[in-house]
């Protein structure tokens, strides 16, 4: 399979592009971050098969450039809401891989204290406002966060990430209408990896050019090559600026290729293995970007090698951290139930009884 047929409306430069206006250190950083996400996800998949991780687990493999490009354009004031395929987003936003892996392991040191798991990562300080596992659930929330920024006169914008298939759910239409109607600073980032589980974009969307789906709300939309980190960064920057200054929401559709099944346990039988292999090769953001950097003299083979082993080490440390972290205590089962304490609701005493019963082998 050649490059995905959905041609971007912006970005997408061939190899050998002119990088002279770029800061070489930033370019190196982008590459290193993309590699970190790649290795994190590969090791996550491995940990899943070793039963260290449970539940559903969705990987960002193939979406590294989308994520790193996005984060490169955001400021600390901005807020991010995502779907359940979000390990890479929270890491690229600056949260240490250790607590992220610990969350996948269900440990107390995890970013959501082991209460959320892979699909529900959160970090308040990073303004990473959560992974959401009900398709479309994050859209009204992100719209509301943008509402609050505007109401409170605060700087920053909200990025609301979702998958291609999420543009078919009601929450999409209601959220876009509200965001456009009330001029809210929110960017709806549609990560078009070609599939919602096994359903292709054209099988689910009457308007498969997803960036055009805002026209019903007179909302601007763009499509960008999601495997091109610089194109992604630049598109985000423009839309971010526009959202913050003019309070104009927008759709950014980032096209990429899903490397594996929908989740770790999906054997991907509905796709032709040969086509998937070709698609992966043609749309892998990492070698493509490395090649550009080498050609431009920003990195050399030795740097690439050293970076790879540094990152392998970093991911290994994250796994070790997760492995050696404590499990949440059953005695804490009802902690965080309510932010404002309320009578007649179970607490530590009840949790202690449950803990005792559990010891009896439940």
């Amino acid at each position: 399979m050649a490059k995905r047929t959905n041609q971007p409306t912006t970005g997408a430069e061939p190899a050998g592009r002119d990088l002279s206006s770029e800061n070489p250190q930033e370019l190196q950083q982008y590459y290193a971050q993309m590699l970190l996400l790649r290795r994190f996800e590969e090791r996550t998949s491995e940990m899943y098969t070793k039963a260290k991780i449970g539940g559903y687990c969705h990987l960002n493999l193939g979406e590294e450039a989308t994520i790193v490009g996005l984060m490169a354009a955001l400021t600390p004031a901005d807020y991010i809401f995502t779907n359940y395929r979000e390990h890479g987003y929270i890491i690229a936003r600056g949260v240490a891989p250790g607590p992220v892996m610990a969350e996948l392991f269900g440990k107390e040191t995890g970013v959501s204290r082991g209460r959320g798991g892979s699909m529900h990562l959160f970090d308040a300080t990073a303004h990473f406002m959560g992974g959401y596992a009900i398709v479309g659930g994050q859209l009204p929330l992100a719209t509301g966060a943008a509402y609050a920024l505007k109401y409170q006169g605060k700087p920053g914008v909200v990025v609301c990430q979702m998958g291609d298939a999420t543009t078919n759910i009601g929450a999409w239409h209601e959220s876009l209408n509200l965001a456009a109607l009330w001029d809210l600073p929110v960017i709806f980032l549609v990560v078009n990896n070609g599939y919602g589980m096994g359903t292709t974009v054209d099988e689910g969307a009457a308007e498969p050019d997803l960036y055009k789906r805002g026209c019903a709300f007179r909302m601007h939309g763009e499509r960008v090559d999601g495997t091109d980190v610089l194109a992604m960064r630049d598109a985000t920057r423009r839309l971010r600026e526009r959202a913050e200054q003019e309070k104009k929401p927008a759709i950014l559709e980032a096209v990429s290729f899903r490397f594996r099944g929908h989740s770790v346990i999906d054997s991907d039988r509905y796709r032709d293995p040969e086509a998937v292999k070709q698609g992966r090769n043609a749309n892998d953001p990492l070698p493509h970007f490395a090649h550009q950097l080498v050609l431009a003299g920003v990195v050399d083979d030795a740097w690439l090698k050293a970076t790879a082993s540094r990152i392998d080490q970093e991911v290994q440390e994250a796994i070790d951290f997760a492995e050696h972290s404590p499990n949440p205590k059953i005695e804490d089962l009802f902690d965080y139930m309510y932010a404002t304490p309320v009578p007649n609701t179970p607490g530590r005493a009840e949790a202690a009884i449950i803990a005792q019963n559990a010891q009896g082998g439940r």
Binding site: Y79, F81, G110, V111, S112, R113, G114, R115, G116, H120, F122, D123, A124, M129, G130, Y132, I134, G137, L139, P140, L141, A142, T143, G144, A145, A146, Y147, A148, L149, Y151, Q152, G170, A171, E174, S175, N177, L178, L181, D335, Y336, M337, Y338, A339, T340, V342, P343, N344, T345
Partner: protein
């Protein structure tokens, strides 16, 4: 004490809370220019402006979720759902999001949100416009659900709900909006969420109820007193958390209980109360706990059918007499 209607108590409290905290906003359909479908928000938009009293499009999922997201960033929205029948299209944002965000993310973010909505039937509003769905929300850990019966309780519970850092579902009643009662003038007056009240003390039988059905129960209690029957009325006030202790203590004293509820009979609030009583006061019971509830049909329009399907005072009186006889007869 001031005398005012349930509606006025709501309107006053919403106005006070808007004045007290600039992070409080009201949102909902037709609450501003139109003054509210049931005039609960009357006058508030002209007093506080369009940015504080926000008219929304008809998009319950969208604006409820928007309010949840705004609450996550420190606002304190109060959302009106025109009637509880329309809340179903927003239930994902309430049950899958608002109720879980604090817990699921390890206590890192709060959702200080109030969703207020009238429940229950009035007139001949028929099947889609007369329902009681409070049990759907009372079922869900992470939410707080209150259902006041009097203007007094409205004021105290609404103040607490707005100042609470968790999502609170505030159940009102169309049929109570014009009822009058005493309301404290004290500016510091609030009522704790999660605590029931014995609204009338009695010795022969406990009637457990909430919202409009508490008002019916109190009338019945007063009437039966003339026949020498002493009815204790427990008003739940909060459906989640449920004040089980107050219910159990009352039944331990009276040894008999009837639940009066406007929702459907099966799987309703009454089922929970009956289970609570048999768990907590089994040895004290002299008769089975009976439930007086809505007949299980999509409420028909025709006046006679509609009337026959809704629970009321005569049904309660029959049930009370039956438990006093120790009767084990299936009530419906």
């Amino acid at each position: 004490m001031a005398i005012m209607t349930y509606r006025q108590a709501l309107n006053d409290t919403l106005g006070e809370e808007l004045a007290r905290d600039s992070n409080v906003v009201l949102m909902g359909e037709e609450i501003g220019k139109f003054q509210g479908s049931y005039r609960i928000t009357e006058g508030l938009q002209s007093e506080f402006g369009k940015h504080r009293v926000v008219d929304t499009p008809i998009a319950e999922e969208g604006f409820v979720g928007l309010a949840v997201g705004a609450a996550m960033l420190g606002m304190r929205p109060i959302v009106e759902i025109m009637t509880i029948n329309f809340i179903l299209v927003a239930i994902d944002q309430i049950v899958n999001h608002a109720s879980k965000i604090h817990y699921m993310f390890g206590g890192q973010v709060r959702v200080p949100l109030v969703i207020r909505t009238p429940s229950g039937g009035v007139g001949q509003l028929a099947a889609t416009h007369s329902q009681s769905f409070e049990n759907w929300f009372a079922y869900c850990p992470g939410l707080k659900v209150v259902a006041p019966a009097t203007p007094y309780d409205v004021k105290g519970l609404m103040r607490s709900a707005v100042r609470d850092d968790d999502p609170v579902i505030f159940i009102e009643s169309l049929a109570l909006y014009d009822t009058k009662g005493e309301v404290p003038r004290d500016e510091d007056y609030t009522l704790p969420i999660g605590v029931a009240e014995v609204k009338r003390a009695g010795t022969d039988v406990t009637v457990v109820s909430y919202s409009r059905m508490t008002v019916v129960a109190l009338q019945v209690a007063q009437n039966l007193a003339q026949e020498g029957i002493s009815v204790e009325v427990v008003d739940l006030r909060s459906l989640r958390p449920l004040d089980r202790t107050t219910i159990i203590e009352s039944v331990k004293k009276t040894n008999r209980a009837v639940v009066l509820e406007e929702d459907w009979y099966s799987y309703g609030i009454g089922a929970e109360i009956a289970a609570t009583i048999q768990e907590g006061a089994f040895d004290y019971l002299d008769a089975p706990v009976l439930r007086v509830a809505g007949v299980e049909v999509p409420l028909p329009y025709a006046a006679k059918l509609s009337q026959a399907s809704k629970p009321g005072a005569p049904d309660l009186i029959r049930a009370i007499k039956r438990v006093l006889e120790g009767g084990k007869q299936w009530p419906k």
